[in-house]
Amino acid sequence: MAGIINQTSKTTDGAQTSIVDGKQHILLLPAWLIIGVLLVIPVILMLVYSFLTQDFRGGVIWEFSLEAYDQFFFDRGLFGDEPPSIEWTYIGIFWRSFLQALFAMIFCFLIGFPTAYFIATRAPQSRSFWLFLVTIPYWVNLLIRTVSMKFLIRDNGPINTWLLSGGIIDEPISMINTNFAIQIGLFYSYLPFMVLPIYASIERYNFALSEAAADLYSSRWVTLFKIVIPSVKPGIIAGCILVFIPSLGAFLAPDLLGGAKNFMIGSLVEEQFKGQAGDWPFGAAVSMILLSIIMVILLFYARAQIRQNDGGH
């Protein structure tokens, strides 16, 4: 998260780093170790696994195979002997996940932007209090929060009970095991990832620009859309990425709140590594495909960013 936010902030003075040139490599060692052990090695491992053969007792057989990717994209009939046609099952899951993540991102933005704006426009000494409130739910583990959400929205949960007793509804609204439930779960899980980078951007925003816009005959809405939002765009994009990407691969919310028929990518991957029935190469292949899609999205983002920084055109 920090990396994406920092892209938009000023880089530190380059002169300082050259002074410590010699010692720098030693000092960087922990960072390289962490990136290597926790990032590079696991990704390479998954990449390798995705090209191996499935062992039906779980795990892999060390034998090169494209079977996992073939299974993802092509349907060769029940016995694998028919001419290949496109396999829509997994592409469908990707598409549904994509839509879920997109909507989660939009809802997080619609609520997160005003929240961030509100916090950034409080008196400086009370801002940290509001930020603190936003982060409170994060003291509790994601799994526990998601289970609690399931309890809250189920048919005989507190929300339905309250609505029924208040006479607002006649029968419980079934929220559990719907796309709506997944949206609630994703929204609740990732909202702070939208709020924090936007807050950081708005806090740096020069409010004299809003006054200048008002001075030049802009209403509040025009000022918001023509001046404020374009000025804090880097924070908005960072927030959107930080919500969209984990939502795309999320499995807790879809699993616990969405039920079996609202399968998403995260659950699909999880299934492949669970117990004896799993297919490790296939799970690895799905992960690699997801990773590639995310990389492409980030690449577009980076290119847009560079083009904007060039400016003048």
């Binding site: 006054e211 001075d215 030049l216 005959y217 802009s218 400016g311 003048g312």
Partner: protein, 385 residues
């Protein structure tokens, strides 16, 4: 200020400030930024608010622009009360202190911004924006972003952006303070020139007296949330009404004296230091024996060779500083001559004198010289304090 009060109902004023008070609320320390001020700004005038930092200049400007509420009083624009209008409802534009150019828009888009919001047609926007860029000599930079411009260029774009919608009044809050000296001096001329060309009323805020004196048609000198004096540059420099104005604008010698004789349009007074008797023109009501403060500008104090002439004051040169165009002398005044106690003993009161240099090696005087001090006729002003 009496003038302003009687002129309230005159519709030809660009701006009327009517008994305006501003208090910034605070739980424990509310700040009175402006204390019941009233004055009028004429149509087509280059009007300057001058005063030290914190005297309320920005507050007043922001109230005229609509960015700050009015605690008490009223502000009128050409006779109409605008006190409750939002900034975007006032035909008044602002050049902000830090320019506040829109960073994501080009120079052209910045300048065209106000016209677009006013819903002018495309051809007019294009024409007017180009004319403004021409006016500030920035036509070649139309497609740059603000961060690709120098400070002086950004300054000019901010000016063009505020002028483009042809406001009735233009507000400028210390627009030159971020520029270096050379550029600042060049911009003074340019601003003055643009004001004359466009015929728009300018209200200009500065804490720099030189800026105020060189550019303004009229100046309001402010301190502590109050207007001390309003007048042309020469009014304010030559006829400061009080201690604050006299010392804030240029350098001033303040001498205490007591009134000895009252004439028709003048008084006679005796200086506490040196004891010389002086005549001062005034139409203020005075009484005999009244203690008064007299002001004289250093360039109107003449220093000569020591003489025994009774009319002159005498003193000893304490220091000499060469300032290029002038030489400045600090002379300590001697005790009164009449008492024959002229032992060269200073009584502590210092008078500052300035002599123009003529390129012949500076002042003929040296530190420690006994000198005579002559005050030019009509050079003394009575300060009301």
């Amino acid at each position: 200020m009496d003038k302003a009060k009687t002129a309230n109902n005159n519709k030809t004023h660009a701006i009327d400030i009517l008994s305006v008070t501003k208090i910034y609320p605070h739980r424990t320390h509310p700040v009175t930024a402006l204390n019941d001020i009233s004055f009028a700004i004429e149509d087509n005038e280059f009007f300057t608010l001058l005063g030290p930092s914190g005297c309320g200049k920005t507050t007043l400007l922001r109230m005229i622009g609509g960015f700050e509420g009015i605690t008490k009083g009223q502000i009128q624009l050409y006779g109409e009360d605008i006190s409750t209008l939002q900034p975007n409802q006032r035909p008044i534009n602002t050049v902000f202190q830090q320019y506040a150019l829109f960073p994501h828009l080009t120079v052209f888009e910045n300048v065209a911004f106000g016209l677009k919001r006013l819903g002018r047609d495309r051809a007019f926007i294009q024409k007017q924006t180009e004319a403004m860029l021409e006016l500030i000599r920035m036509a070649d930079f139309a497609h740059r972003k603000p961060n690709q411009l120098s400070g002086g260029q950004q300054q000019r774009v901010a000016l063009a952006r505020a002028l483009a919608p042809q406001p009735k009044v233009l507000l400028l809050d210390e627009p030159l303070s971020a520029l270096d000296l050379k550029l600042r001096q060049a911009m003074r001329e340019e601003l003055k020139d643009i004001q004359k060309k466009t015929g728009i009323t300018f209200i200009f805020v500065t804490h720099d007296q030189e800026e105020a004196l060189t550019m303004s048609d009229r100046i309001a000198v402010m301190s502590n949330g109050e207007v001390q004096q309003i007048g042309t540059a020469t009014d304010i420099y030559d006829h400061p009404i009080n201690h604050f104005v006299a010392t804030f604008i240029g350098e001033a010698n303040i001498l205490s004296a007591s009134v000895t004789k009252i004439n028709k349009n003048s008084i006679m007074a005796t200086l506490a230091a040196g004891g010389g008797s002086v005549e001062v023109a005034t139409d203020l009501a005075m009484t005999k024996g009244q203690k008064i403060s007299l002001m004289i500008r250093p360039e109107r104090v003449k220093i000569g060779k020591a003489s025994r002439a009774k009319s002159a004051l005498s003193g000893v040169v304490q220091s000499i500083s060469y300032l290029g165009t002038d030489t400045q002398l600090h002379v300590s005044l001697n005790a009164r001559q009449e008492t024959e106690l002229n032992t060269g003993q200073s009584n502590g009161e210092i008078i500052i004198a300035r002599q123009q240099n003529h390129g012949d090696g500076g002042s003929p005087f040296h530190k420690g010289d006994a000198v005579s001090v002559t005050i030019a006729e009509n050079a003394l002003r009575i300060l009301q304090d």
